[in-house]
């Protein structure tokens, strides 16, 4: 194996599994450490730099970070990253004066955003501090998009959402509520310098089955949730069938439970192993007494005289891998209401086909994955509108990337000329056997989120089910983080091959052996390879014997003992400081500064030097 090129910005980044997996690359270990230090506001602001809505996402994020978390490989369960994010949001207190502001003098550029959801709001959040004028067109009377309309209040209190949106809009965005965009042509004609379309994929799919046209209480999930959110719907029948088993289905069934549904069933076509809903959402629904029925495909709605009596299903038997099924019989499930949660589709009836904005498969726009620009320069897409339904954190990341493109576009710079991420390493060494982080392994188990008692839970739709972590739970959970951002960095020229690091490593990450190809090296590791996808670090030949140092990054708990027991400081513990590209420059984390990672220059009231000349 050739020596590992650690100068590649991705190498050390990849070691930080959570940050690597997060679409927005939130600096998870650092904000967890800040929580551990009681610096909640700093942790919140560090979060906000990348994910913009820590309070919202601390409750509702899809959490791609958690399945990636190294802790799950070490002791079986990931760090409760998402819930710790909420701790920072819950306890941060006032942020007076610490949030970015727009400069007094604007830069003269106008940007239109379609939809006031997470993607557009992220674009506004990045562009307003640079002096842009941002005009958001929103068809609803309130901002937030799917964050407001499809996430029920018992999971996300309105006040949390309102405040985090206000942080952005208060910088001076103009929002035109109740004004759906009916024509992109007319919008373009208003003379904006750029247009960002973050209108979501708001149409829930319908099920065109016999009986669908005969009336009866059949609702499309997303529309129904939206009606509940705006107070148009306040009740439902006692027996409710939810068809579909994604996360929207979970929100539908639990909302139905709160609006009067006592016998609520979720019906899925495929076996449980193939469900789209997250495990925790399924568990939360089942905890509330919701039955989940599997391997039933809806055949027809049974409607008599305009009244829905039930739904008839085909009972299916699936092959291994659930690719093909055979019908084994039928089943009639009586009900009062049916909620369809079988997917979403994008819809752009308002985009004229002759404008140059090409629409491709499934009516989705043709969008560049990096720049988010459509086939019409100056028109950008993000969030669910760009590539179909994803999630909030992806929408936020699209917003950041689109903001870079828009900023480039407005300055006459090519959208492909994007700032590169910058990678720095900062020593954690504070002296002999002293580290500026807690290097002790905390054997605590993942903390359980306490829920509101059942009896109180259904009193009102707005009773938040999750109570948040208590301080002692939060402290234990913080301790579980393995500090993966604090990297083991080897200077091979200094190694004297004394074996101290190899002997002291608790999980036997390290091996000194003769150089060889990867399969051969893996066969000689101090401990067997558990996850072949986890990369091996291989050093250049060591000075005394010409052998190489090999590290299997997989289970490293970043305890720092290799560096501590190294007599020549060949091993060092250094924190990865990843500076992410942002509109207007590169954001760089600096935990020492008041802004907890806020580059003061990037958000100063006065425009950046480069911005003023635009």
């Amino acid at each position: 194996m050739p020596p590992t090129d650690t100068t590649n910005p991705d190498w050390y980044h990849r070691v930080v599994d959570c940050q690597w997996a997060c679409p927005a690359h939130t600096d998870v270990p650092q904000y967890i450490r800040l929580i551990g230090q009681g610096r909640y506001a700093d942790a919140y602001l560090l979060n906000r730099e990348t994910n913009v809505f820590p309070g919202v996402l601390g409750r509702t994020c899809d959490r791609p970070c958690e399945p990636a978390c190294r802790r799950s490989r070490v002791d079986g369960t990931a760090v409760a990253i998402c819930r710790l994010k909420r701790v920072a949001a819950d306890l941060r207190g006032e942020l007076a004066g610490r949030l970015p502001r727009a400069p007094e003098r604007r830069n003269g550029k106008r940007v239109a955003c379609v939809g006031a959801g997470p993607a557009s709001l992220s674009v506004a959040s990045d562009l307003l501090p640079l002096g842009y004028e941002v005009v958001i067109h929103e068809r609803h009377p309130l901002p937030g998009g799917l964050m407001r309309t499809s996430i029920p209040a018992f999971r996300l209190p309105e006040a949390v959402l309102d405040e985090e949106i206000r942080f952005i809009l208060d910088m001076g965005a103009e929002v035109r509520y109740g004004s759906p965009v009916a024509s992109l042509r007319r919008l373009l004609a208003e003379g904006y310098d750029a247009v960002f379309i973050g209108s979501g994929a708001p149409r829930g799919k319908d099920l065109d089955l016999p009986g669908r046209a005969e009336g009866g209480r059949i609702h499309i999930g997303l529309d129904w949730l939206q009606s509940v959110a705006f107070g148009h719907v306040t009740g439902i029948g006692e027996r409710v069938l939810v068809i579909g088993v994604g996360n929207t289905a979970m929100d539908c069934c639990r909302t139905a439970r709160r609006l009067g549904g006592t016998d609520v069933k979720v019906v899925a076509r495929r076996p449980r192993a193939f469900f789209k809903a997250s495990d925790w959402e399924l568990e939360d629904a089942e905890e509330e007494g919701i039955d989940i029925l599997t391997e039933l495909a809806p055949r027809r709605f049974v409607v008599e005289g305009g009244r829905l009596l039930g739904v008839e299903f085909d009972r299916l038997a699936w092959d291994e891998g659930a690719r093909a099924s055979t019908v084994m019989g039928s089943e009639l499930l009586p009900c009062d209401d049916v909620i369809l949660a079988v997917g979403q589709e994008a819809a752009f009836p308002w985009i004229e086909r002759d404008l140059g904005v090409e629409l491709g498969r499934w009516d989705l726009p043709v969008v560049d994955r990096t720049t988010l620009q459509s086939t019409l320069p100056g028109v950008f897409f993000g969030g669910d509108a760009a590539f179909g339904p994803l999630n909030i954190i992806w929408a936020v990341e699209h917003g950041h990337q689109a903001a870079i493109s828009i900023d480039n576009h407005c300055r006459g710079v090519g959208v492909d000329e994007r700032p590169a991420p910058r990678v720095g390493l900062r020593s954690m060494d504070m002296g002999l056997a002293q580290w500026s982080y807690h290097n002790e392994y905390n054997p605590s188990k993942r903390q359980r989120m306490e829920h509101v008692a059942m009896v109180r839970r259904f009193a009102a739709l707005s009773v938040e089910v999750e109570l948040g972590f208590a301080p002692e739970q939060s402290a234990r959970e913080v301790g579980r983080c393995l500090n993966c951002d604090i990297q083991t960095v080897l200077v091979p020229e200094l190694c004297i091959e004394c074996d101290a690091c190899i002997d002291v490593c608790p999980v036997r990450c390290l091996t000194i052996t003769a150089g060889a190809d990867e399969p051969e090296l893996r066969g000689r590791l101090s401990a067997p390879t558990l996850h072949p996808d986890e990369p091996l670090f291989v050093s250049t030949p060591l000075p005394q014997t010409g052998r190489v140092m090999v590290k299997d990054e997989d289970l490293c708990v970043h305890c720092g003992l290799c560096a501590e027991r190294c007599p020549t400081a060949a091993w060092r513990m250094e924190r990865l400081e990843l500076s992410l590209p942002r509109a207007g420059g590169v954001w760089s984390p600096d935990p020492g500064s008041a802004g907890a990672g806020t580059d003061p220059a990037a958000h100063a009231a006065a425009p950046l030097p480069g911005v003023a000349q635009r």
């Binding site: 002790e440 004297i496 004394c498 101290a500 999980v507 305890c559 027991r565 007599p567």
Partner: protein
């Protein structure tokens, strides 16, 4: 002091030995020696060897005197017995423990100061008696605990960290052992576990005294350019006189073909130590030839390592004294001390 003890978390897929113990079950407390000390690697080799041969931890006694080396008994096998004595007196302590309970496996850890200066008189007599034990000398050529004065094993010309060269002839524990009739002599290097672990495993099967001289560099005071006990010098001048394969007695896997230059030594329990002689004609059973070889190798500036000499035939201390096979510690009191009447009868006979 280290910032933390070694975290208890383990790699989930590590094997266990036939006692169901993982290698980490043979570890001890966190080392407080200097980072990079050769002694820590020797400790790791002992952990590995004892785990591989599946010694029950409670059947081991760890013994030491004073010195950096003497601290290391705390760093392995936390489930074993232990006794830290005064400086240079590990050998008589071991003799007492071995006399009282011949069932226990004794592991003594000493240094060049503890064994070759203050304690050399005791070591001499321990070798003569051929007590069953593993005696490891962690040899770094300096007194590390008192800041690096040259020790009795420092070579002539090897310099202290201040640059002063040694002028007095060194003691070579291997040659000392040969002259006293030692029955198992081996030299290893802390930086080469591939060699040291099989040596230690062979020593567990030896029925007499296994004296192992381990070059174990002192990173703080004797790992510099002018030292002949540094990592670099040892690597550059290491001549592996024998390579050791430890063949456990249970499954017989050897073929009848014995390649030229290979000597199999069968120990009393059926264990065979296979010594592959690298210098042509080297015979680890020929005492005179080994002595001559070691003197010449030393004069050439070589560090001869491997199992250097084995004599499985000589009787042990218990055999010499015709002690009952049952450990004295396990004899009923009435047998051990038969009373005044018996003493009187014995006096009259």
């Amino acid at each position: 002091m280290p910032s933390i003890a070694k975290p208890p978390i383990r790699h989930p897929a590590l094997p266990v030995n036939e006692l169901g113990l993982a290698e980490r079950d043979y570890e001890g407390a966190m080392s407080t020696l200097c980072a990079g000390c050769g002694h820590d690697a020797v400790t790791a080799a002992i952990v590995r060897a004892l785990w591989e041969v599946a010694v029950p931890p409670h059947m081991v006694v760890k013994l030491s005197g004073i010195g950096c080396s003497a601290k290391t008994t705390a760093y392995f096998l936390r489930g074993a017995h232990g006794f830290n004595g005064v400086h240079g007196r590990m050998a008589p302590l071991a003799t007492g423990v071995g006399a009282a309970n011949s069932d226990l496996l004794l592991i003594g850890i000493s240094g060049d100061g503890d064994s070759l200066s203050i304690g050399i008189g005791h070591l001499v007599h321990l070798i003569r008696r051929n007590l069953r034990m593993i005696y490891v000398i962690e040899n770094n050529g300096v007194y590390g605990l008192t800041k690096g004065q040259l020790s009795a094993s420092a070579d002539v010309g090897s310099t202290s960290s201040k640059g002063t060269p040694g002028v007095i002839q060194p003691v070579d524990p291997m040659l000392l052992g040969l002259s006293l009739g030692a029955t198992f002599l081996a030299r290893g290097f802390s930086g080469d576990k591939a060699q040291l672990v099989p040596i230690l495993k062979a020593a567990t099967a030896h029925r007499g005294l296994a004296l192992i001289d381990v070059i174990s560099p002192c990173v703080s005071f004797n790992d510099h350019e002018g030292s002949t006990k540094s990592y670099r010098f040892t690597r550059e001048h290491d001549v592996q006189v024998t390579t050791t394969d430890f063949v456990e007695p249970r499954p017989e896997l050897l073929t009848a073909i014995g390649p030229v230059g290979i000597t199999d030594l069968t120990l009393h329990d059926g264990t065979r130590v296979r010594a592959r002689a690298l210098p042509e004609g080297y015979d680890p059973g020929d005492r005179d030839a080994v002595g001559a070889y070691l003197r010449e190798a030393h004069d050439r500036g070589e560090v001869a390592t491997g199992i250097l000499y084995v004599d499985p035939s000589r009787p042990t201390l218990h055999e010499l004294l015709r002690v009952v096979p049952r450990p004295l510690a396990g004899l009923p009191y009435a047998d051990l001390c038969p009373g005044a009447a018996e003493l009187e009868r014995f006096g009259e006979s």
